[in-house]
Symmetry: C2
Subunit: 141 residues, 2 copies
Amino acid sequence: MGEGEIRDVAARVHSTAIRLLRTLRREDDGSGLSAPRLSALSVVVFGGPMSLAQLASAEQVKPPTMSRIVDALVERGLVTRVAKPGDRRSVEIAATSEGIQLLDAGRERRVGALVSRLRKLADSERRALARGVEILERVAR
Amino acid sequence: MGEGEIRDVAARVHSTAIRLLRTLRREDDGSGLSAPRLSALSVVVFGGPMSLAQLASAEQVKPPTMSRIVDALVERGLVTRVAKPGDRRSVEIAATSEGIQLLDAGRERRVGALVSRLRKLADSERRALARGVEILERVAR
DNA sequence: GCGAATCGTTAGCATAGCTAAGTGTTAGGA
DNA sequence: TCCTAACACTTAGCTATGCTAACGATTCGC
């Protein structure tokens, strides 16, 4: 595959990912959380307990910004913030069961919307898509 | 393909798209524009001239929010805002050549970062990826 | 122990999101 | 015709989200 073809694949992967997530984002309305809060919560739920700095870095945001987002999530009982035993400068941010539940419901809406679209594909197309995603997972890692 | 398998593909497409864009977003630092401004500009560049309401809807934002984003883009000379000839209530927002140039440079950085990752794949993998993306394009439309 | 580095928060600013209300334009009916 | 309603956008004013700078509090190195 030549340089130009690789570029073409990259450009299409890029724009398709943007369009897909733009579409699925519409499902987030019912969550009752803003996009930054929902996104931060999802990192904690799927990544497990972590420090504020780790969470800020994962969200590509500075610590003061994340500190306030965590304030709001704690306020709603979706995460806990406790001093780390071994190093009391640091905090451990962990999802509560309520946080996990809220996030799962939202993810269900997004994934469900995507499922109903995938159902319209031919089986061979879904298999090809599954194969492509498997490869893209390694690329995105 | 059973219901559970379709769900699995959907969930993987979803999380992979998120991770991919999160990674590529790091390339946007050098643009000098915030994420909402960059995103609005890209809609105008790729979608062609459109009204404020159309642009706000495309960005899933209310008109007053988009009005101020457009203010900033006009201020920097990246788009123009002119009253529509046939209906002077409405405005036509169009990208300037400078706006197109700025956006293309940013897109080059993102796509370039992706290209350098795709180069590490085997040729057969890139072909499988290309096939998968082709299918996903239809899903996202 | 004591100075320096580290982690998080606080303070203060600009931007981005919203709703409600205002301005100007167009459309439609008496 | 004209006048009322609907429409497109902007303005006003609020909260939330992003930043940098500066401030505790804790830990580490020596």
